[in-house]
């Protein structure tokens, strides 16, 4: 027994049908579950050129391999599809309780295609699958819709259902909308909410109660116990947060060094991700004034956004499924300026940064209100903040007029105008409607492209690549560009990957010159970071578990115990590499050209900033990205001319001992191998394996599965 259910649920909204489909064990061996399973399925089943908002696009919800096994920090669910924002691979993930709910229905993932005629929601309780009328919920915000579904299903299901739904932003097909659960927690990126809205699918409601399998639950439990025991002791003295801003100022002038990542857990337990805001403002990590400002422009803003202010109004912490950290919290905001709600989630760092320093907005209270508005609407705060920043800069430079902005005075730090604009974006009214699809579309319509900060169509996360050039590599090379959760130098220094992976370079002290170089050493660091992140996503792991490092959150040991395997870190890193390659292949199949993706000049330090910790920094991003691809073994010149060109190895056949059993073709996770080569076996005519598509990812599953040693894997010439 392993941790996989071995089944996926396939739903066709057009035909109003659903079927349970078995997944061969070889697929799990090749790509795990979670994002890996989604990459495997979507690469095969979304046709090239599919309209992201049409019936051919497939919306996938998946739980990771370790979800439900007792492993800590493995409660993330991933949603994936073809992104309407970038035209390539799109995914987003979120915590809460939805990941185990997928598995408790008896599936590792749910794949939804087609378009419903009228608004529906998908209901599954592990026994039956139904498409139900959702007209009563259509138009409600995500939090209200979830409450209404819970109310209406109360007493109907044995188990309290878990709901993932869209808000008005997704219903109105905003390309920067996401999918929510747990009262406004959102899988926000890549425009996944618009895809759900285009399918007229308001919600996915899961109420299964099946047990979740695991090979060796006792060993998994022992690993979790060891981690939990340490985390319980991790507390910081109250009030320490006031020094964070000063710490950031110091960090901004120091080189990156290897760290003990486990100590990040102290910060997340004490403050949540918003601990980073003060630090980011002063260190150069957080973008200021639409990525063009310096800490001088927001002097002492770190005091306004100090995490201790937010902790004072925190009423309770909350945890995702299987998380002992609990970085989330509920805030009492009743009676605060701008507040239309009584409470909100503790805003994430990204939200505070995107609506604080990025817009030169000094009002913390306005951010509580914006946080709740956007969470309920199901709109991505990163993309929305970047879009508002573009609008302000265009207005300040005369590209937008007051008539165009519906009378809004869009100046830096004008809190009232920012709030009003966001409300208009959510409602898709007037100027808000015109910019509700993100900064790329807005700048194509109104001009001001030089102020439009997006990478390949997606607005970047709130970390500055001039502070951490590795981040710039991932912003560009990541198949879902602009994401900040794939790799950073500082994170690499905390993970000690070199202790599980033979080819991952040791984390050593790097000065700025090292970090800016396009050396193979730095490329191997970015590759190792990306591969490990994909592995974590396949396992359903949390980014903050990953940051703790391999000595604290023992992913390799967890996977071996949960699946009954005995693989080493190198083997698992190969799985991560495979997932990343599949996602990149998806992009190539869809005609998305990775070579055309660029960092905006401003983000690359062209021209460099005149002062502050990032003074004078210009990235060598294109050279670093080229080195990153080389480290992956992807052919730089052929990478855009077909799926198969990114493989590093290919199968070679010795047909003499072949018995035509077909085990190899069945093992292929991407159906690149088929039993179609006609020939003779002795006196009999027969069929033999051969590559039937150019989609081979070089994973070697066919060679491993063949009992007759017909296949060997050879390096590409």
């Amino acid at each position: 027994m392993s941790s996989f259910t071995g089944k996926i649920l396939r739903v066709d909204l057009t035909a109003r049908s659903a079927e349970s489909v078995s997944v061969p064990p070889e697929v799990y061996e090749a790509v795990l579950a979670g994002k890996g399973l989604e990459a495997w399925y979507l690469y095969k089943h979304i046709p090239a050129g599919a309209d992201p908002l049409g019936p051919e696009n497939i919306l996938a919800f998946a739980a990771g391999a370790l979800c439900g096994t007792g492993a800590f920090l493995t409660g993330r669910w991933t949603v994936a599809c073809k992104s309407p924002l970038t035209g390539g691979w799109g995914d987003a993930n979120c915590g809460g309780l939805f990941a185990p709910a997928i598995k408790q229905c008896g599936y590792d993932a749910i794949f939804i295609s087609g378009v419903a005629e009228e608004p529906v929601y998908l209901f599954c309780d592990g026994k039956s699958v139904e498409l139900r009328d959702a007209s009563a919920y259509w138009g409600l915000d995500a939090t209200e819709a979830e409450k209404a579904l819970h109310r209406d299903l109360d007493g109907v299901c044995r188990k309290k259902p878990c709901v993932a739904c869209i808000g008005p932003a997704g219903e109105k097909l905003s390309l920067i909308s996401g999918i929510c659960n747990e009262g406004g927690r959102i899988a926000a990126r890549s425009g996944v909410g618009a895809v759900m809205g285009s399918k007229k699918l308001k919600a996915v409601v899961l109420a299964g109660a099946r047990p979740m399998p695991c090979h060796d639950p006792e060993t998994v439990k022992a690993l979790s116990k060891e981690l939990g025991r340490k985390l319980l002791k991790m507390t910081l003295p109250t009030g320490l947060g006031v020094f964070i801003g000063a710490g950031g100022a110091m960090m901004g002038h120091l080189p990156n060094i290897p760290l003990d990542g486990s100590l990040t857990a102290y910060m997340f337990r004490e403050w949540g991700t918003q601990a980073n805001t003060s630090l980011a403002i002063t260190s150069g990590d957080g973008p200021i004034k639409n990525w063009g400002g310096t800490p001088r422009d927001v002097r002492l803003m770190e005091v306004v956004y100090n995490p201790e202010h937010i902790n004072r109004i925190e009423t309770a912490k909350y945890h995702c499924y299987s998380c002992p950290l609990g970085c989330g919290g509920k805030l009492n905001i009743r009676g605060r300026k701008y507040a239309q709600f009584d409470e909100t989630h503790k805003p994430e760092y990204e939200t505070i940064e995107a609506f604080g320093p990025l817009l030169m907005n000094w009002s913390l209270d306005s951010i509580f209100q914006l946080n709740e508005l956007l969470n309920r609407a199901g709109m991505d705060t990163i993309s929305a903040g970047n879009t508002v920043a573009w609008a302000i800069e265009c207005y300040e430079n005369g590209i937008l007029t007051r008539e165009q902005t519906d009378g809004l005075e869009l100046s830096w730090g004008n809190t009232g105008a920012i709030l009003e604009l966001v409300e208009k974006m959510i409602a898709r009214e007037g100027f808000g409607d015109a910019i509700a699809d993100g900064v790329k579309r807005a700048s194509e319509r109104f001009g001001g492209k030089e102020y439009a900060m997006h990478v390949g169509g997606q607005e970047p996360g709130m970390h500055d690549a001039r502070n951490d050039p590795q981040l710039g590599v991932h912003f560009v090379a990541e198949p879902a560009p602009g994401k900040h959760t794939v790799g950073m130098s500082i994170e690499y220094g905390a993970m000690s990957l070199c202790d599980i992976c033979s080819w991952a370079p040791p984390a050593v002290l790097h000065d700025k010159e090292d970090e800016l170089s396009a050396s193979m050493n730095m490329a191997l660091i970015s590759k190792a970071n990306a591969c490990y992140t994909m592995l974590v996503d396949g396992a359903g792991g949390c980014y903050y578990g990953q940051m703790m490092g391999v000595h604290m959150w023992k992913l390799v040991e967890y996977l071996n115990a949960a699946e009954g395997w005995d693989y080493d870190g190198d083997h698992y890193m190969e799985i991560g590499e495979r997932i990343q390659t599949l996602r990149q292949l998806f992009n190539i199949k869809q005609g998305y050209d990775p070579a055309a993706v660029r960092l905006p000049d401003r983000m690359a330090g062209i021209p460099p900033l005149p002062s502050g910790p990032l003074k004078g920094v210009t990235l060598r991003n294109r050279e670093q990205v080229a080195a990153h691809w080389k480290a992956f073994g992807w052919d730089r010149h052929r990478r855009t001319d077909g799926g198969g060109t990114m493989t590093k190895k290919h199968p070679v056949f010795d047909y003499l001992p072949c018995v035509s059993c077909g085990i190899c073709a069945q093992a292929c996770p991407v159906s690149a191998l088929g039993m179609s080569r006609e020939g003779k076996s002795g006196k009999y005519r027969n069929v033999f394996p051969e590559l039937v598509t150019d989609g081979c990812i070089g994973c070697g599953q066919c060679a491993r599965a063949c009992p007759m040693d017909v296949i060997t894997m050879e390096e590409d010439a």
Binding site: G248, M251, P258, S262, L263, H463, M547
Partner: protein
Amino acid sequence: MRVKILPPHGCDRNALDARSWAELPEGIRVRDALRLIRCGPLKAKLLLMSVNGERCTPERELHDGDVVGFFFPVSGG
């Protein structure tokens, strides 16, 4: 015994190999490791330190395979 030490800024890494491991005699404590990387007493007083992810004092005894770390914030969101 082998111990992994992740030294803070301004400390000497010469006693460590490329992967930050050091070969040390049995029975040494965190304060000895600090001395090994030339971390002065003032800096040592300001640092929060941990062994295998558990906060500790400089008097904590080290064992084979231990990872010694020092508090330093990491970005995220």
